[in-house]
């Protein structure tokens, strides 16, 4: 009896503990392993061109690849579909300070999400700035926030973010923003950047978030939010009503829905979720983090691939994925200062059971 009591207490404490450590073991078990391999030395740079922490990665409809990364300056690079460096976009523009993610919309516009300036910057395929949302505070105002560190404030302003994390688009061109470290919400704008709606605050109930860190939409306009601190994916409908939680795949640093942003019907879509190795690369969690889950949109787990590590095909720390082609996953990694092109092999394993 006493043994049982201790177990119950320990289980009750577990969620609080995982909240603090921000990285928990995925609760799904008996998950089939999807064979995968990394294309060796895929990304190629001219001499003297480096990437730093690779925070964001996205492909356009032609297969070109964009990587948003933290180097000496935060920079946005473009590569051919074969991994050759093409050019830099947006060099030293006012919206770049600390990269967080990058996405490509249905018209192949490139959206950089910067958590240093609290801004979204929309580039035309050519590289011109078409629109911004959010606003960088001027240096004098920023000083009032020094010396930094910061914390959740939940200001929930229509056109200002609190270190927002990611952006997604539906078939009507509406814009969905996960916001972020200092806010705990999802914000919807129309295609002209006009505020429509915001939901959420910090917490662990439905429509509450603890660092919504990544966001994706499916072809029907449903919204998948990587609610990282709460170790779940929250699914919302297009009007930001709550639909479901997928609580069994660890802490989702990155979510991705296959098929691209449209407008072509992508057919069957899959959801990818990365339970990333924490960005300080601690030895302990390396044993139970780092894997990526492939799921049906309804949350059924199909399989998983990868593990924490620094070798080719291992991940440290996946911060964003591109999965336009469900069998070709691009991963942007913080600790390894790299991105990888991952090929998924046809799996013979059947859909695994889950708890």
């Amino acid at each position: 009896m006493r043994h049982l009591l201790i177990t119950v207490v320990a289980l009750a404490l577990l969620p609080a503990g995982s909240w603090l450590s921000a990285q928990s073991r995925a609760t799904a078990t008996n998950v089939a392993v999807i064979p995968h391999e990394a294309v060796p030395n895929f990304f190629k740079h001219p001499p003297g061109i480096y990437t730093g922490e690779n925070m964001g990665i996205a492909t356009n409809s032609k297969g070109n690849i964009y990587v948003y990364h933290r180097a000496y300056e935060t920079r946005l690079f473009e590569y051919t579909a074969k991994g050759d460096f093409v050019r830099e976009l947006g060099r030293n523009n006012y919206g770049f300070a600390f990269a967080h993610s990058v996405r490509v919309d249905a018209q192949d516009n490139i959206w950089a999400v910067d958590e240093g300036t609290d801004m979204l910057i929309k580039f035309s395929p050519e590289g011109r700035i078409l629109m911004t949302i959010g606003r960088r505070e001027d240096p004098v105002a920023m000083l009032s926030n020094m010396p930094g560190g910061g914390r959740y404030h939940g200001r929930n302003e229509k056109y200002r973010f609190g270190r927002q994390t990611d952006v997604a688009f539906d078939q009507q061109g509406n814009i969905f923003v996960s916001d972020g470290y200092f806010d705990g919400r999802v914000v919807k704008y129309d295609k002209n950047g006009r505020f429509v709606k915001a939901v959420g605050e910090r917490g662990n109930g439905n429509l509450q978030f603890n660092t919504p860190h990544s966001i994706a939409t499916d072809f029907q306009g449903n919204v998948y939010v990587g609610d990282r601190g709460n170790a779940r994916v929250q699914v919302l409908d297009n009007d930001l009503n709550w639909k479901a939680n997928y609580p069994n795949v660890g802490n989702p640093w990155a979510v991705c829905v296959s098929g691209g942003p449209g407008p072509k019907n992508p057919g069957k879509q899959y959801l990818y979720v990365s339970n990333s190795w924490p960005d300080s690369a601690p030895a302990g969690p390396a044993e139970y983090t780092g894997e990526v889950y492939k799921m049906e949109l309804d949350g059924t787990i199909i399989g998983k691939f990868g593990r924490a590590g620094k070798a080719a095909g291992e991940f440290a720390t996946i911060h964003q994925m591109d999965c336009r082609d469900p069998d070709v996953i691009y991963t942007a990694e913080i600790n390894n200062w790299r991105s990888q092109k991952i090929l998924l092999k046809a799996s013979t394993a059947k859909t695994s059971s889950q708890q």
């Binding site: 240096p139 105002a141 000083l143």
Partner: protein
């Protein structure tokens, strides 16, 4: 009978006219283009704090772009960067950067071109007004950039309270940098500059704690200042723009009090102009009958409530145009208006990172 009808008609017309004056301002028809073109690889125009054209049609843009840096020094932290001055041709094509690496470019807040084609930049972080001669050399410096920025150890240990997240920053206690908040040239977040026919200089000072107009002679010698914080005549709640008419009267955009105050050149209060919303930028036309263009920004992001008013100098509202938003013919914090040509304006926007060329019908 017909006389009665015409009397009624006149009465109705008069009533209608007064109703129009009270309930709605007539909309001025206009077209607009997104004017500026920079190379696709950069440099990039960011928030447009100031735009102005010279007599040759060349266009100067003072913009927040690039990055503000903090440099670690001996026990202090220094700031630099974050704003640039660009030159464009009359068609909006990028020509070159002006004043590259100028010390005081930090947080652009305004730009004006004077009648002699000198270019004046106003910086809200450097607390400076800098005059560039037409050839690009620096001709006059008003105010001094703070030596250091109070990153540490004077900054509060915890973030500021969420209740006032977006109000202008107040320096941490004991951290007031040199050159702030004193009479004479000590500006505190100045916003704008204007001149009279003698070349005397009037500085709107500004959106910090000074809430005053400062007057200098053409060589930059301090002459006088007036104003304090408040809502009475001669008091301000954020002086965001300044303009002078041909008689030397001074028009000051008093944003927090939703009015324009009019003074003579010595600071004597004359009158106020209201019903122009929350004034952000102003431009005085140069024709025989002068008008003021006044941009109104009713929200902090320029997404809910905005317009540009055309106002007669007696305060009568001629009309208005534009709305809030990100599309063409919408204005996202129109912080600067050039009206060298009365019916062809250059409007610089902060949140939309652009200059629109506005043609009024």
């Amino acid at each position: 009978m017909s006389r009665l009808i015409s009397t009624i008609a006149v009465a109705v017309l008069a009533l209608g006219g007064s109703l129009l004056g009270q309930s709605g301002v007539s909309e001025l028809a206009f077209t607009s283009t997104d004017l500026l073109r920079t190379p696709v690889e950069g440099p990039f125009v960011g928030e447009v704090a100031g735009v102005g054209a010279n007599s040759k049609g060349q266009i100067f843009v003072y913009t927040r772009t690039g990055h503000p840096y903090a440099t670690l020094g001996d026990n202090r932290t220094f700031s630099r960067g974050g704003s640039k001055l660009f030159l464009f041709d009359a068609n909006g094509k990028f020509v070159r950067e002006w004043g590259q690496d100028v010390y005081g470019f930090n947080a652009a807040i305004g730009l004006r071109v004077d009648p002699q084609d000198n270019v004046w930049t106003i910086d809200a972080a450097a607390n400076q007004v800098v005059k560039f001669n037409a050839d690009g050399a620096i001709g006059l410096v008003l105010g001094r950039k703070p030596e250091t920025i109070p990153v540490r150890p004077n900054a509060p240990a915890s973030p500021p309270s969420p209740s006032s997240p977006t109000s202008p920053a107040t320096p941490a206690p004991g951290a007031k940098p040199a050159g702030m908040g004193t009479p004479g040239s000590g500006f505190n977040r100045p916003t704008d500059v204007a001149w009279d026919k003698a070349g005397n200089i009037y500085v709107a000072d500004g959106i910090g704690t000074n809430n005053r107009i400062a007057k200098f002679d053409k060589d930059g010698r301090f002459l006088a200042h007036w104003g304090s914080t408040g809502s009475g005549p001669g008091q301000f709640s954020g002086v965001k723009a300044i303009a002078l008419d041909a008689q030397g009267n001074v028009y000051a955009a008093d944003a927090g009090n939703k009015r324009i105050q009019v003074f003579d050149g010595d600071g004597k209060f004359l009158r106020e102009i209201t019903n122009i919303g929350t004034p952000l930028a102003m431009c005085m036309t140069r024709g025989g009958t002068q008008h003021l263009y006044v941009s109104h920004a009713g929200d902090q992001d320029g997404m809910d409530d905005a317009a540009i008013y055309k106002v007669a100098l007696d305060g009568r509202i001629v009309g208005k145009f534009g709305a809030a938003g990100k599309q063409l013919k919408e204005f996202g914090l129109a912080n600067s208006i050039d009206c060298r040509n009365e019916n062809e304006l250059l409007v610089g926007e902060m949140t939309n990172w652009r200059v629109q060329k506005v043609s009024l019908k």
